[in-house]
């Protein structure tokens, strides 16, 4: 039994908010070297206080944060779920000549979301994929990894968003990961925009996980925060 500060004697082992598992899958391939990786680390570190503030504002969820770094192979950057308020971000590092294999990263996250590893009372997980390139998985591996994730109830139910660093990374593969044509990939056209896109994505993810996924609302919110830009025109208007 537990005794609260107000001297309520309750049956059981105490109460707490519902877990909201927030997992970042960060591209650490060779192309992320230098300014992009610095900007990504800055952006994640900037995102965390926003998540802490959101956690305090709402009445239901406790954010538990994890991160996967992926290149040729994935590895847990933060493996054990950490309450976001307690997290101190340790910088990610790129893998020299590392490729952008996403399928194994999806499998790694799927293992963490298996029914026997996730609390029964957990809210829908929030998954954020950040990449600057197209997947380089061997044939079939991207799809197989994504299928493994979506085969799980929690993987299917997860709110999934993607941030593309550079317009070239805004690929059909990311749309497949998101799984909803209404929800856009958030594009950071420059390293300066990474922090903004991550802040937008993280709060949207958290809110949608807590209150339930209204895909229309999510799409509207994201489009308002980061409207898609016109594709580059064949002619640079500025010099005409």
């Amino acid at each position: 039994m537990t005794i609260s500060q107000g001297a309520t004697i309750m049956p059981g082992g105490g109460i707490s908010r519902r877990p909201l598992h927030f997992i970042v899958m960060a591209d650490c391939s060779g192309s992320m070297a230098g300014e992009k990786m610095q900007a990504l680390n800055f952006a994640i570190a900037e995102m965390l206080p926003n998540l802490v503030a959101w956690e305090q504002e709402q009445e239901k969820a406790q954010i538990l944060f994890r991160a996967v770094a992926f290149a040729d192979t994935p590895r847990w950057h933060i493996e054990e779920p950490v309450p976001v308020a307690q997290l101190r971000w340790k910088p990610l590092h790129h893998v020299e000549r590392g490729r952008t294999n996403m399928g194994p990263a999806f499998r790694m996250v799927a293992e963490a979301l298996a029914p026997d590893r996730l609390e029964r009372r957990a809210l829908q997980p929030a998954l954020l994929l950040v990449t600057d390139g197209l997947p380089t998985d061997p044939p079939g591996q991207f799809g197989a990894g994504l299928s493994a994730l979506l085969a799980l109830p929690a993987g299917r139910a997860a709110v999934r968003l993607a941030v593309a660093i550079g317009r070239d990374a805004d690929s059909e593969a990311l749309n497949r990961f998101i799984g909803d044509p209404q929800v856009p990939v958030l594009v950071a056209d420059s390293t300066d925009e990474i922090a903004d896109r991550l802040a937008t994505a993280s709060i949207a993810l958290s809110r949608m996980s807590e209150v339930g996924v209204d895909r229309d609302a999510l799409a509207t919110q994201l489009l308002r925060a980061a409207p898609p830009k016109s594709p580059p025109s064949a002619v640079d208007d500025s010099i005409v």
């Binding site: 609260s4 082992g13 109460i15 707490s16 908010r17 009445e59 239901k60 139910a157």
Partner: protein, 280 residues
């Protein structure tokens, strides 16, 4: 058998913050003392919080009313049943279809009296049957003679604690329940999603039965929480007494419904068998 029944229903802080009412309901029919062998039915229900289910608070109340009424009526003759199979059969073949039909009829009547407003219709999804607006879970327990008949659709928890300390969940688990998703009385195939049980209280003498909407279980920090909560409830009966438990019940629900807990509406129905000896 003679039972003490206590109930509490508290609005969740997340509901309050979202300007939503308490969408849970709790109710009972019959005499907790079961004088003359009359049945006792107790139910809790949790109206879905999604805006699409914009009349779920009304839906949960109708579900509780219909289920308790029919539970007493349909199972009234089952006190002398020789085994659990006839009780389970009566439950599955007569009571549950009656509840689904009765709830839909009650919803239709409610709509006749109070048609959807323009504001409500903004939340209705294209193609939704009107009952979707009233979507709710339902947990029902009916005591009749030596039998306890239970039925549940959707999330929430039932916990049975025997005098010997064994803690049991009297309905089978539903693997389709996870995260925010629940089965519902408003589904076309609601009957297929009910989980039922029939327990012989002579064989497994129950001392405590707890029915709870998911605001309670979702607030519990330990997993699984059922053994600890069950053991503590039994200890409370013996060490502190039934009246103390009745006094405490609202505060348990309130803590679970708070921002320290699930933040969700929390409704409890606690039945404690009468006159257990207090420990000296």
């Amino acid at each position: 058998m003679d039972w003490h029944l206590f109930t509490a229903s508290i609005q969740g802080t997340a509901h309050r913050a979202a300007a939503l009412p308490n969408q849970d309901a709790v109710g009972s029919r019959g005499d907790p003392a079961q004088a003359g062998g009359a049945p006792l039915a107790v139910a809790v229900a949790d109206g879905h919080g999604d805006p699409r289910h914009f009349r779920s608070g009304r839906g949960s109340q109708l579900a509780v009313d219909v289920a308790c009424e029919l539970g007493c009526e349909v199972l009234a003759g089952m006190g002398g049943a020789a085994g659990p199979d006839p009780v389970r059969a009566q439950l599955a073949q007569r009571l549950l279809p009656g509840i689904v039909h009765g709830w839909r009829a009650a919803v239709a009547e409610d709509l006749d009296h109070r048609p959807f407003s323009a504001e409500e219709l903004r939340h209705r999804h294209p193609g939704d049957d009107a009952v979707v607006a009233y979507g709710t879970t339902l947990l029902l327990a009916v005591f009749i003679g030596r039998w306890l008949a239970v039925a549940q659709i959707g999330d929430g928890d039932m916990l049975l604690v025997e005098a010997g300390g064994r803690v049991a969940v009297p309905v089978p688990p539903d693997p389709s329940l996870h995260g925010r998703f629940t089965t519902s009385l408003c589904q076309d195939d609601a009957l297929a999603h009910f989980r039922v049980g029939a327990l012989d209280l002579d064989q497994a003498p129950a001392e405590v039965l707890l029915l709870a909407t998911d605001g309670f279980g979702n607030a519990q920090a330990t997993e699984p929480w059922q053994p600890g909560v069950g053991a503590d409830l039994l200890a409370f009966v013996r060490d502190r007494g039934i009246d103390w438990m009745g006094e405490q019940l609202p505060s348990w629900a309130a803590r679970c419904a708070s921002a320290e807990g699930s933040g969700d509406d929390t409704t409890l129905a606690l039945l404690v068998r009468s006159a257990p000896p207090l420990r000296p």
